[in-house]
């Protein structure tokens, strides 16, 4: 009964989305505040409908109601509670419902929080958001119903793929989707601005918080996914340039470009058309990302829950939605004002360079992901594009971007002073060069590329510090004055510095980890040992363990360094009972920012003298790989809390005359 109620609420949400789109569009045409208010009410109602349906689905998973097809296919009574709940979005149907929940949630939030927007823009935005809701909810209701019943309920479910039964991955999809779908508000605002024919500083200021929130959440989502791959797939890597990873990385890159170009539009009124284009592109790439993964077009090491038949439908939705957005752009954008002028050396130019390089990096990822498909479709020849391609295209483009990054925030708007910036950054450059050279000379084995990368990371970190010093005029006046300035720095400035700092930390870690990672694998009997990176690992025993829904062998590996105990690693090799899969549960020893990564492999040899394949990696700076993006996301959130973004809305609200009903 509850399940039917949920299905009904979902259908109702679709109806409310239709109303939202229709009423808000009518409100725009007839300039009626009553209709506009009704459209906003429908937006909230659509969200509540999807929320009820989603709650019902989660409940069905929690109580293991196997009469629901989706639960029967993806859950199991013996699964831990966290994964029962996470199972709700582990399947195709469930994940699309989560997408709809986020989409209507953002739509309702934008409608309610959009009080400061000009009325026409707001009505158009709510209408576009409603239209998006109609498309996705219609797909959910008619082609991908997560609450469909089975005629005959099985006694036991088929369980969720064991690889996905992991805390990081349980919360990974909600963050990722919150990021993807957050771009929908920027998309709706962009289309609304094109409909209104006006893109100004106020509009850019409105897009920024939504893009910031979406980008920050996407950063968290991607990092969680990467961390999961790092310790769950068990081969020590954290980024594989896999199509599924690329699919989530492209919207991230475009959103990063959008954040920067929106600043130019907000402060200087320039690049309006480009900012609108990026806002449309960011959500289009989000849809591309979600659907490439879900449609099964791409072969990937971690493409889960795919379904080719519905994939075509999803790609059609993508084509129509993105196509409509870009067509409207092509039609209306030429009328937009080009905005303020700027000199070759200026903050604007630096941000344009940022956008050019981010766009090129996105093109590299896009080509690398889709070119094999295109070439096979056109010529029938199959090729592969793997990590070596990205190392030769994406990496140099990003390295160039990172080289100019510290100069950007120090340049003045409109006309910058190149000599002044050089004067402020020479100490940072010297430090970066010194650290890079020291890395090259002192660290064994000698790695030129990794050392250069270390220098680049230090350059970014020092650049972030230089920016704060510059803003506070540190060492160039009385200390008290600098402290006063530091205390008064706007959150937006802190946010930017944190994001750039986090990027530096990540770059540093990425090069150190890739350049100086060590690997060792041996077949060991109980009592056997292997040496790695100055550590001595002894396999002291292997015991049988019974988990909640798996049986496992657990190794006991005692790790010492120069005779001193360092840690005890207990890697497991699990066999899941529901479907007989085996997975390896990695043991991580945290040594400062470094990881000692221990994997227990298969048992070999006879019963009399068993040996185990033990594999260990020394991953220097591995913690910083994930800390860096966390700092970046934190920067986004700090920036989001800036008073200016909130005050601007409040000020406009006060300035605007009270709404009055206009005769239709």
């Amino acid at each position: 009964m509850l399940v039917e109620f949920g299905a009904f609420a979902l259908a109702l949400a679709l109806a409310f989305s239709v109303l939202q789109a229709g009423l808000s569009a009518a409100a725009r045409v007839r300039r009626s505040t009553t209709l506009a208010a009704a459209g906003e009410g429908a937006a909230v109602a659509a969200f509540l409908g999807v929320a009820v349906a989603f709650a019902v689905l989660v409940h069905a998973f929690v109580v293991s109601d196997f009469s629901v097809a989706n639960v029967a296919a993806n859950s199991h009574t013996e699964k831990p509670m966290l994964y029962k709940v996470a199972g709700a979005w582990g399947s195709h149907e469930g994940s699309i419902l989560l997408w709809c929940l986020m989409l209507t949630g953002y739509g309702a939030a934008a409608a309610v929080l959009g009080r400061g927007l000009p009325r026409g823009l707001r009505a158009s935005m709510v209408a576009v958001q409603g239209a998006l809701g109609v498309v996705f909810l219609a797909y959910t209701v008619f082609a991908s119903n997560p609450l469909a019943r089975l005629a005959r309920a099985p006694v036991e479910g088929q369980s969720l793929n064991p690889l996905l039964q992991d805390p990081a991955l349980a919360v990974h999809p909600p963050f990722l989707y919150a990021g993807y779908v957050g771009m929908s508000v920027a998309f709706s605002l962009a289309l609304a601005a094109l409909i209104e024919g006006r893109v100004d500083a106020a509009w850019a200021r409105w897009v920024r918080p939504w893009a910031l929130a979406a980008w920050s959440l996407l950063t968290v989502g991607i990092t969680l996914g990467s961390f999961w791959a790092y310790y769950e797939l068990g081969w020590g890597g954290w980024w594989f340039w896999d199509p599924v990873e690329n699919a989530s990385f492209m919207p991230w890159l475009v959103a990063a470009a959008l954040l920067h170009s929106a600043v130019v539009t907000e402060k200087r009124g320039a690049l309006a058309g480009w900012t609108v284009f990026l806002a449309i592109a960011a959500f289009s790439f989000s849809m591309l990302g979600a659907f490439l993964v879900r449609s099964g077009v791409l072969t990937s090491v971690h493409a889960f829950a795919l379904d080719p038949e519905r994939g075509v439908l999803l790609l059609a939705i993508l084509g129509v939605t993105a196509g409509a957005g870009f067509s409207l752009f092509a039609w209306r954008a030429p009328a937009l004002s080009p905005g303020g002028v700027f000199a070759p050396v200026s903050r604007e130019s630096a941000l344009v360079l940022n956008n050019i390089l981010l766009a090129a990096a996105t093109a590299a990822v896009l080509l690398g992901t889709l070119y094999p498909l295109i070439r096979e479709a056109v010529t029938g020849e199959a090729i592969s594009v793997g990590p070596p391609y990205f190392n030769l295209t994406f990496t140099p483009l990003m390295a160039l971007l990172l080289l100019i990054l510290p100069a950007g925030p120090l340049l003045a708007w409109k006309r910058g002073d190149a000599a002044g910036v050089a004067q402020r950054l020479w100490a940072c450059a010297l430090l970066a060069l010194a650290v890079g050279l020291a890395g090259y000379a002192l660290v064994n084995p000698r790695q030129a590329l990794a050392s250069a990368g270390v220098g680049l990371g230090v350059w970014l970190i020092a650049g972030a510090a230089a920016e704060i010093l510059e803003r506070t005029r540190a060492f160039r006046g009385p200390a008290a004055e600098s402290w006063r300035r530091l205390a008064k720095l706007p959150r937006g400035a802190w946010g930017m510095t944190l994001a750039h700092l986090g990027l530096g930390v990540f770059v540093l870690a990425a090069f150190v980890e890739t350049g100086w990672r060590q690997e060792r694998a041996e077949t060991l009997p109980v009592g056997g040992a292997l040496d790695l990176g100055g550590y001595h690992l002894v396999l002291e025993g292997v015991s049988a363990v019974e988990g909640a829904n798996y049986d496992a062998e657990r190794g006991l590996v005692r790790v010492t360094r120069a005779g001193q105990p360092a840690c005890i690693a207990e890697p497991e090799r699990r066999a899941y009972l529901a479907d007989g899969q085996t997975t390896s549960e990695v043991a991580l020893c945290y040594r400062g920012p470094n990881h000692l990564y221990v994997v227990l492999g298969e048992r070999r040899g006879g019963e009399a003298a068993p040996v185990w394949l033990v594999r260990a990696y020394w991953n220097p700076f591995a913690s910083l790989l994930f800390l860096g993006p966390a700092i970046m996301a934190l920067g986004g959130l700090v920036s989001l809390s800036d008073r200016r973004l909130r005050l601007a809305a409040a000020a406009r609200r006060q300035a605007e005359p009270q709404p009055q009903e206009q005769p239709a």
Binding site: P162, L163, V301, L306, N355, S384, V385, T393, A521, S584
Partner: protein, 149 residues
């Protein structure tokens, strides 16, 4: 239950990196390192999207053996890759070749840079000449800015 079986197949090959297995290794560490470098650029053809360095699949094991034998026999990287391409087609290479068919793939990102730089130059050239400030005005502007910040 097609999806289930696919998942199981993926998971089966996912479990662990395989190339470092001591049972397979070459005795000469320099040769072994070279073989590992080649592994990372060769695709495991039956896997979802893995190099033979990572894959535990039977075929990956066989390919590793071929590469190790040829490394041991003293053949160059290019010779080994050419041998693999002859047998399995270009699909086996994770680094696409620099060939006319892949021109768009390799040049695309850099064309975006050129296009963007071109547009930026046009934009900068078309800007209206700005009135220059004289020294006195500059000074006044500076003092105003200092007051403000």
């Amino acid at each position: 239950m097609k999806v289930r079986t696919t998942l199981a197949a993926i998971a089966a090959v996912l479990c662990m990196a395989a190339a470092s297995d001591p049972a397979e290794r070459l005795t000469d560490p320099a040769q072994e390192a070279r073989a590992r470098q080649i592994f990372s650029e060769v695709r495991c053809l039956v896997c979802q999207n893995e190099s033979i360095d990572d894959s535990q699949a039977e075929l990956a094991h066989d390919l590793r053996q071929i590469v190790r034998q040829q490394v041991h026999a003293g053949r160059s990287d290019d010779q080994i890759k050419a041998y693999l391409v002859d047998r399995y087609g270009e699909f086996v290479l994770l680094r696409p070749t620099f060939s006319p068919g892949n021109a768009a793939l390799w040049a695309g990102p850099f064309l975006v840079v050129l296009l963007g730089a071109g547009l930026l130059l046009v934009r900068l050239r078309n800007r209206a000449p700005e009135p220059e400030l004289d020294a006195a005005e500059d000074e006044r502007l500076q003092s105003l800015q200092d007051e403000q910040t």
